[in-house]
């Protein structure tokens, strides 16, 4: 048994059934059973790429380009942390 969940960088995250983007008072939110996560800036850019086509590595590379002033390893770390949080919430499926 693993102590920590690990992400396969070649896998393609995709919103799980019953998880979708919504909007409230011009604010984007991620809706799922018993939860709603507010999305802004990077979190929205990550979610928009969780489409079953982008790999984890693609998402990291895209955001490193968008946030070129930030340290690339910091961007990667934040993205992996966020994807792991979403995995824990069961908001994502990871397609091989």
């Amino acid at each position: 048994m693993m102590d920590e969940m690990t992400l396969d960088h070649a896998s393609k995250p995709r919103l799980a059934p019953g998880v979708r983007l919504g909007e409230n008072n011009s604010q984007r939110v991620l809706l799922m059973p018993e939860r709603a996560l507010r999305l802004m800036g990077p979190s929205l850019e990550i979610i928009e790429r969780c489409d079953g086509k982008h790999t984890v590595a693609n998402i990291v590379a895209d955001l490193q380009k968008i946030y070129s002033k930030a340290k690339p390893e910091k961007v990667a770390e934040d993205i992996l942390g966020y994807l792991q949080l979403l995995q824990k919430e069961r908001a994502l499926d990871f397609e091989p």
Binding site: M1, G18, G22, E34
Partner: protein, 409 residues
């Protein structure tokens, strides 16, 4: 952009979810049903158009999710239109169902109408316990529903309602969930209001049962992390601090009864001297912001000691008003399950009885009556009381006499 009614800005504190009790009709007769003891009749139910307006008003108020519940929400013949209109209004649509009226075409139609999440309730891991608790043969149908859900794209939660008679079945319940497509499991201990309050002496688990169940749940949470969200609700009689009931009175949730009354919680109608506005007569936003009932226990000014000077008052909001009323007679008292409550001994006295190995004769619910005719009689007919138990027998092993929830007119 959606137009906002009366050019009002969204209120600072707005409800996040709308609990829509579409009907009190139900094919099950669960002994812990969260519906009030005074069930509303079919004649009094809101029509489709008013529910549709309520969903639109809810979105304008900032609500994100609608919980379509009952009774059994699928008893409404307009359920597809209700799902469509809630989704079209911009809500995330949850359906909380027994699954009894479902078949595959109906399930497909619900998903096509915009259903986001289906929560299926279970009464146990086996047909015998489920039938005793719900007064209906229902377990096998629920397993069929799970098999249909596997090939469909919709979020699935399994809700297991836990109490003394089924708490030993947790492993079986978890096995059902793991072989399904559920992304979420609730192991929700019964909370003691209404029908559950009347049946409490038969439902409340013992301390040792509870401890064993919590250890099991913790292991499951660890093992299934990232696969299934495993959530647990304890019976708050055993808690040190009260639950932040409904996230605080008039803070996060709004419940609409089948006939259209707006309530701050499921049980609020038991509190004397409250009046409830009806969505037929008043817009939702006005009810939320201005009605006397929603303001009654909002904030802190109504609190008594020890709550009003307690560091936890912004965490649990003094607990549950209905529980305070039921156990102390005063709806503004500190929830007596709180270890800081001057009336905690009332809860302790109940726990002492439940945990006593040498039991007095089991309390028979006073109103005990068989389920009325209509959708069926209890699969397990109520038994009589049982003065024959041996001194070492735990109350948990004794047969129970139940007060079944009937069907409304």
């Amino acid at each position: 952009m959606k137009s906002r009614t009366a050019n009002m800005p969204p209120p600072q504190t707005h409800p996040l979810a709308l609990i829509a009790e579409l009907t009190h009709r139900c094919p099950l007769h669960c002994v812990y049903c969260s519906n009030p003891q005074e069930l509303q009749s079919r004649d009094s139910e809101l029509p489709t158009e008013i529910w549709s307006r309520v969903f639109r008003e809810a979105v304008d108020l900032g609500v994100l999710q609608a919980d379509l519940t009952g009774g059994e929400p699928l008893a409404r013949t307009d359920i597809l239109d209700l799902v469509k209109s809630a989704r079209a209004a911009g809500l995330y649509v949850n359906l909380i169902t027994s699954g009894l009226p479902l078949d595959e075409p109906k399930l497909d139609a619900l998903i096509a109408a915009g259903l986001d999440h289906l929560q299926l309730s279970f009464q146990g891991s086996t047909e015998d316990i489920a039938a005793e608790i719900s007064g209906t043969q229902s377990h096998r149908q629920k397993l069929r529903v799970l098999s249909w859900l596997k090939s469909r794209r919709v979020a699935v939660t399994l809700n297991f309602v836990i109490h003394r008679r089924n708490i030993h079945q947790l492993p079986g319940m978890l096995a059902i969930a793991e072989s399904s497509s559920a992304i979420r499991i609730e192991f929700a201990n019964v909370q003691y209001y209404g029908w559950a309050f009347a049946n409490r002496e038969n439902l409340l688990p013992t301390r040792s049962q509870l401890d064993a169940s919590l250890a099991f749940i913790q292991q499951a949470q660890k093992r299934l992390e990232g696969k299934i969200r495993v959530e647990s609700v304890v019976p708050d009689y055993y808690a040190k601090y009260p639950k932040p009931c409904m996230g605080g009175w008039g803070r996060k949730l709004m419940l609409i009864t089948p006939s259209g009354e707006a309530l701050p919680c499921h049980a609020a109608k038991i509190i004397p001297n409250l009046t409830f506005d009806n969505v037929r007569d008043r817009p939702l936003q006005e009810i939320w912001l201005a009605s006397e009932t929603f303001q009654k226990f909002r904030g802190q000014s109504w609190m008594q000691d020890p709550c009003k000077s307690c560091d936890r008052r912004e965490i649990d909001y003094a607990g549950c008003r209905c529980q305070a009323l039921l156990l102390t007679g005063d709806p503004a008292a500190t929830d007596p399950v709180c270890s800081l409550s001057p009336q905690r001994q009332k809860v302790d006295a109940i726990l002492t009885t439940i945990n006593s190995p040498a039991l007095p004769p089991l309390v028979v619910a006073q109103l005990a009556a068989p389920v009325p005719s209509g959708t069926g009689t209890p699969a397990c007919a109520p038994t009589t009381t049982h003065p024959t138990s041996t001194p070492n027998q735990s109350r948990a092993d004794t047969p129970a006499t139940w007060l079944y929830r009937p069907n409304p007119a």
